[in-house]
């Protein structure tokens, strides 16, 4: 147990260091940008009619006159106290915006994450166990096609088919337009989340299925499966007793590694469906040079991704007796 704790502590420390690195990298990248935030947000004509003092004031507001190191250290010490600053575009605390938007996105991300994981595992195991035959070829073809398709185009296609032609599903947003906040039901929200969640799940499946298939093929060619076959075990029992157990470990890795991809995909999908989630606000912050907001979003999403990796590392010990005993012995 002590070793497990030590292991977890080490991983946690590494995660904190990585987060620091992420915040520094994101900060540097954004402040290196040659794009003038005044030009993009205020506009050339408005700037021309302003007095130098006003422009000076605006430059102070966008933080253009403070030295780099001072700005970063200031941000960092505030962030460590739980204050991620105030968004320059929305004039609200960054954490509040992220909280709101994440609450919108979280359901979407979670459904897509679980669906793509389960479907991907099932398809991968099926393909691996029927290697070279029809189911395998179909599944491989599907995966190749999907991984070559841009997520936003798939979103556009689904939008065209289900919302414009068939009219079954809404065109965008997360709630109906022109309805009071109080009278929005959960069903409304679910109804609006179907298409984005579907798009994200479809795209997420390919990677997981392909990798699981590789692993499953290795397992099916192993000697213990040959022996099990010689003993007369059925295919079903081989898959359940030997296949799934040995595929579980890489499947966990893939499942938690896919968090980053799902978040990335949600940026595109939310943009297409005008879904007011975290991804959409990230695009707005980037286009409007809103440094505190984009920095906050980057750090929060990176924290989610690293937390996923950490959970995967800890789950190995729970799932695999070899790792558990190995850790206890050393």
């Amino acid at each position: 147990m002590k070793h497990r704790l030590q292991f977890a502590g080490k991983k946690l420390l590494r995660m904190v260091l990585l987060l620091l690195g992420v915040s520094l990298a994101a900060f540097l990248l954004m402040s290196l940008s040659p794009l003038d935030p005044l030009q993009t947000n205020v506009g050339q004509t408005a700037l021309g009619s302003m007095s130098p003092e006003q422009i000076e004031k605006l430059q102070d507001y966008w933080g253009m006159n403070t030295p780099l190191a001072e700005r970063y250290l200031g941000w960092l010490s505030d962030a460590l106290h739980g204050d991620f600053g105030v968004s320059l575009l929305y004039r609200q605390p960054v954490l509040q915006i992220i909280g709101q938007r994440l609450a919108n996105s979280l359901g979407l991300l979670f459904v897509a994450w679980v669906l793509s994981g389960v479907l991907g595992l099932a398809l991968g195991v099926t393909a691996g166990c029927f290697r070279g035959r029809l189911p395998d070829r179909l599944i491989r073809g599907y995966c190749l096609l999907i991984s070559s398709t841009p997520a936003f185009w798939l979103a556009l296609l689904l939008l065209m088919v289900f919302s414009v032609w068939l009219g079954w599903l809404p065109v965008g947003l997360s709630v109906p337009i022109g309805v009071e906040v109080g009278s929005i039901t959960l069903a409304d929200r679910l109804y609006h989340a179907i298409l984005p969640a579907l798009t994200l799940s479809i795209t997420g499946v390919a990677n997981i299925a392909l990798h699981t298939r590789e692993k499953m093929i290795d397992v099916m060619e192993s000697e213990y499966v040959l022996f099990a076959r010689a003993r007369g075990e059925s295919r079903r029992s081989i898959v359940l007793r030997h296949g799934l157990r040995n595929v579980a470990l890489p499947a966990i890795t893939l499942q938690f590694a896919s968090i980053s991809e799902i978040i990335g995909g949600s940026v595109l999908v939310e943009e297409v469906f005008s879904y007011p989630g975290l991804g959409q606000v990230a695009v707005d912050a980037g286009l409007g040079s809103d440094l505190p907001l984009l920095l906050g979003i980057t750090v929060v999403t990176a924290a989610i991704v690293f937390a996923g990796n950490l959970i995967a590392d800890l789950l190995y010990g729970v799932v695999d007796p070899k790792i558990r005993r190995g850790a206890a012995r050393s």
């Binding site: 590494r14 260091l17 990585l18 690195g21 992420v22 990298a25 994101a26 540097l28 990248l29 954004m30 290196l32 940008s33 040659p34 794009l35 190749l144 096609l145 991984s147 070559s148 398709t149 841009p150 997520a151 936003f152 185009w153 556009l156 296609l157 939008l159 065209m160 414009v164 065109v171 980053s260 991809e261 978040i263 990335g264 995909g265 940026v267 595109l268 943009e271 297409v272 990230a282 695009v283 980037g286 286009l287 040079s289 984009l294 979003i297 980057t298 999403t301 990176a302 991704v305 690293f306 990796n309």
Partner: protein
Amino acid sequence: MKAWNSRKKVLLLFCTAAVLLCAVAVAGIFLEGRAMQTDFSQKNLAPSLQYPFGTDWMGRDMLARTLTGLSLSIRIGVLTAAVSAVIALAIGIAAALLGPKVDAALSWCMDLVMGIPHILLVMLISLAFGRGFTGVVAGVALSHWPSLSRVIRGEVLQLRQAAYVRAAEKLGVPRRRVVRRHILPHLLPQFLTGLILQFPHAILHEASVTFLGFGLSPEQPAIGVILSESMRYLTTGKWWLALFPGLALVLVVLLFAGMGERLRRLLDPASAHQ
């Protein structure tokens, strides 16, 4: 076709794909003028024989625009994939050979890059380089190396244990020479496959980032720009604006992915005698 063994067939398919892609890239350059040409008497036409892909709200020929966009995508894809593959090679070799401290530092960097969701990272880098063409190229090139450099690092670590490398080291051959003479040639297959398999990612990310507005400028007929413009006309039933350009992009990406797969099979020593 009895005389053709499976290696030759694979080679033929590989070459066909390469020629097709080159043709599209060149055609796009010549059609650039037509892609910008507006003709308001011919606007919003559905696909017909004269305009196979239809026209948009400014009467521009969508076929010419799509081909120009694809050509841009292919050229950017080739450029960025090459740059990021070279970065991956350098970092992978450095991590494996320059001792545990450098290895730890570089692994940390890889984890860092992989920790930020990909699209977000490309957006950030593109911003740092001021968006536009340089922004996209830098963004895609500087964010795609970690996975390939992990593969190369693993490969080099294995090669270091090979008898001939250890013998060369014991004989006092300088490290540079060992890398050039004994390690690099063995990495070539992995590197080439990795390079070609980077194309699809690079092209898709270029299109995505441009679609979001962080990439090529709206005046350029890039696929991302075409698709983001088409969004405004979807609800009025102009399906051809989104369908064909996207479909063409998928085909190009599939061609690249197929080429990578074929090349992997050709370079795989296990299949040399098929």
